[in-house]
């Protein structure tokens, strides 16, 4: 059986797009439009938009890979027409003078189309006959990078979604040494029902999953929405609160780092530690001839919440050959007001006793 292949020129465009795109594009499925079904030349791109996804089919031609691709938009976007006649984009878009040898072309096409899509959605929303919505849009437009999306049911506008990027700060730079591939941002999702009498919007904070190692948006309490409020009033309060908490989150990285460093004089240098967010550290310890690993995991609420740790024997293995581990230990003497060195000292003392229980437990398991 022949192996499915993507023609090299098409593969180059696609690889460049997936690895260099500023937003995270995914390929959902690939298939063939050729007589030879092993040549894959069409695919569905999943593109993040307004905290949701849009799916566009990109149609290449395996047999004529020098030709520009075609794009089919989603079924709900049949009226999306990126290149209007007479506009500058009509004569000078990314499809004109397509150069298949330049692998950056698909990326510029997709980002150009996505920009056009943002403009298209805001044009649609501008036409909705809802005074409240029109007012909100007009006050929010001064903010950069807002994306909007209109949900329609049977061609009637149902609700309008906004994705409002919050805080004019670069989180990637704020967290020293962060390895996030994409620019991290916290968004407020605002959903306005269209044509309802009391248009209190539904609000929710959204961020990428990667951000959770640093800041938990789930634990952030949104300020209450008052009757007769508008977004222009709400957003500054929200951003102020969020800004404070982000600063706290940055300084709490340092608190955790100090704690891990305080463990060092007692346990020796960590075998492994998370150097960016300081959420995890593993030390090698011994009691007599019994050697074991101690895995610390430190929550975002540290020092209010004490670190959890578990022990893993280096000498005892279960019937599957995996090292024996203790359960998570969270109950031990602790005060968030102690100095880091005192925290470390108390843990060390607690462990000196606890490791003997663990050794007994390991021996018992192995005798069975």
């Amino acid at each position: 059986m022949a192996i499915d292949t993507v023609p090299p020129l098409i593969a180059a465009q696609l690889n460049y797009l997936v690895s260099h795109c500023p937003f995270s594009v995914k390929v959902e499925q690939m298939w063939s439009g050729c007589k030879n079904p092993n040549l894959l030349d069409r695919f569905t791109l999943v593109i993040p938009y307004c905290l949701d996804f849009i799916r566009w089919d990109v149609i290449f031609n395996a047999v004529y890979p020098l030709a520009a691709p075609d794009v089919i938009f989603g079924p709900e976007d049949e009226s999306f027409q990126p290149y209007d006649a007479g506009s500058e984009k009509f004569d000078k878009n990314s499809l004109v003078n397509w150069n298949s040898k330049d692998p950056t072309r698909l990326l510029s096409l997709i980002s150009e189309l996505r920009d056009a899509y943002i403009a298209y959605q805001s044009r649609r929303i501008g036409k909705v006959n809802d005074d409240r919505l029109t007012f909100e849009v007009s006050t929010m437009l001064t903010r950069q990078g807002i994306e909007m999306y209109m949900n329609s049911v049977n061609d009637k506008p149902e609700e309008v979604k906004f994705a409002v990027p919050l805080l004019d700060m670069d989180l990637n730079k704020l967290v020293a040494g962060s390895t996030w591939r994409h620019q991290q941002k916290i968004y407020l999702q605002v959903i306005y029902p269209v044509g309802k009498k009391s248009p209190a919007p539904r609000l929710k904070l959204v961020s990428a999953a990667e951000l959770r190692a640093f800041f938990s948006i789930e634990e952030f309490k949104l300020p209450p929405w008052m009757d007769g409020m508008c977004m222009a009033e709400y957003l500054p309060t929200l951003e102020e609160m969020l800004g404070f908490q982000i600063k706290d989150a940055v300084s709490s990285i340092e608190t955790r780092r100090k704690f891990i460093m305080a463990l060092e004089p007692l346990f020796g240098r960590p075998v492994e530690a998370d150097p960016v967010f300081c959420r995890r550290a593993t030390f090698l310890a011994s009691s007599g001839v019994f050697t074991f690993l101690v895995h610390f995991s430190i929550s975002l609420q540290f020092p209010k919440q004490q670190p959890a740790f578990l022990l893993q024997s280096s000498q005892h293995f279960n019937s599957q050959g995996a090292p024996i581990k203790s359960s998570n230990l969270t109950e031990y003497p602790w005060s968030p007001r102690w100095e880091a060195s005192q925290m470390a000292g108390r843990i060390f003392e607690f462990l000196a006793d606890e490791c003997l229980n663990f050794k007994k437990y390991c021996n018992q398991l192995n005798q069975q």
Partner: protein, 280 residues
């Protein structure tokens, strides 16, 4: 006609079959122009039924019938629309894509804009994502209005009583050539001068050439016999039809031969293309 609303779209079963065949036999996606006829009809709103007569007002319906097409691979841009000819008018264009959703694409909408001065019928043909034995193609017709594609229903004209009007309104694509055919009685002037003779010969030669386009070896002179007695007429007419069929037969043989040459060349081109595409 670009801004004339099309009320009905018709395509003959044979034309559609030929179009579908072209789509499935081509190596990739194709597009091209659609030709045919447009007819205006005023349906009679009068009815025997007493309730319907009062409310309806007579409106004119525009029917577009697709009778032929011209295709080329999609990676070539559509050439400028061909000049209008007497046999068929340009109705619009079509696009055929394998295994894609049945929705106009980005390219279709840019094509619609660049063709905005030409007729606005658009026929989209696709194949289903899963290969199927019976339902091999899907199609949808649209009329372009500015940047919007308005879906239209399309009727397939087949043999049968419900399409009788098709036959009533039939007009041939290629009419039999017009030529003077004098009755040359025996009492015609003997004083034919040489010059006139030469002119006659010339005209005869020209007529023969025209006739040769329709029939295979039927002398112009015999046409005059079609106006003779009834028995001679039948025989001559049958012979003329035979010769016409012979001509069509000869033409189709030529088409067959050239088709196989084209196929050979296409296969050769395909091998070269695979090389260029780095698929070898």
């Amino acid at each position: 006609m670009a801004d004339f609303p099309i009320d009905k779209i018709q395509i003959s079963g044979a034309t559609l079959a030929s179009l579908l065949h072209r789509c499935s036999s081509s190596s990739g996606d194709i597009h091209g122009y659609l030709f045919g006829l447009t007819t205006l009809s005023t349906p009679n709103p009068l009815s025997d039924h007493p309730t319907t007569t009062t409310s309806t007002t007579p409106t004119t319906l525009l029917t577009a019938s697709i009778t032929s097409f011209l295709s080329l691979p999609s990676h070539f841009p559509l050439p400028p629309p061909p000049p209008p000819s007497t046999s068929a008018v340009l109705l619009g264009w079509f696009s055929s894509r394998r295994k894609t959703p049945l929705r106009p694409s980005l390219k279709d909408s840019t094509t619609a804009l660049s063709l905005s001065t030409t007729p606005s019928l658009f026929l989209l043909l696709t194949t289903p994502f899963q290969d199927q034995l019976i339902h091999t193609h899907e199609y949808k017709a649209f009329q372009c209005k500015g940047i919007t594609f308005e879906p239209k229903t399309i009727n397939i004209v087949n043999l049968g009583p419900s399409f009788r009007s098709q036959y009533d309104s039939f007009s041939p694509n290629v009419a039999f050539p017009m030529m003077d055919c004098e009755l040359r009685g025996s009492n015609s002037m003997v004083e034919d001068e040489n010059g006139e003779n030469l002119a006659n010969k010339k005209r005869n030669l020209k007529d023969q050439k025209q006739l040769d386009m329709c029939a295979d070896g039927f002398e112009v002179g015999r046409l005059s016999k079609l106006m003779g007695s009834e028995s001679a007429y039948t025989g001559e007419l049958e012979d003329l039809y035979d010769k016409m069929l012979g001509k069509i037969d000869g033409l189709s043989k030529l088409v067959e031969q050239t088709n196989s040459k084209v196929l050979e060349q296409e296969n050769h081109n395909m091998r070269l293309r695979y090389k260029v595409a780095g698929l070898e």
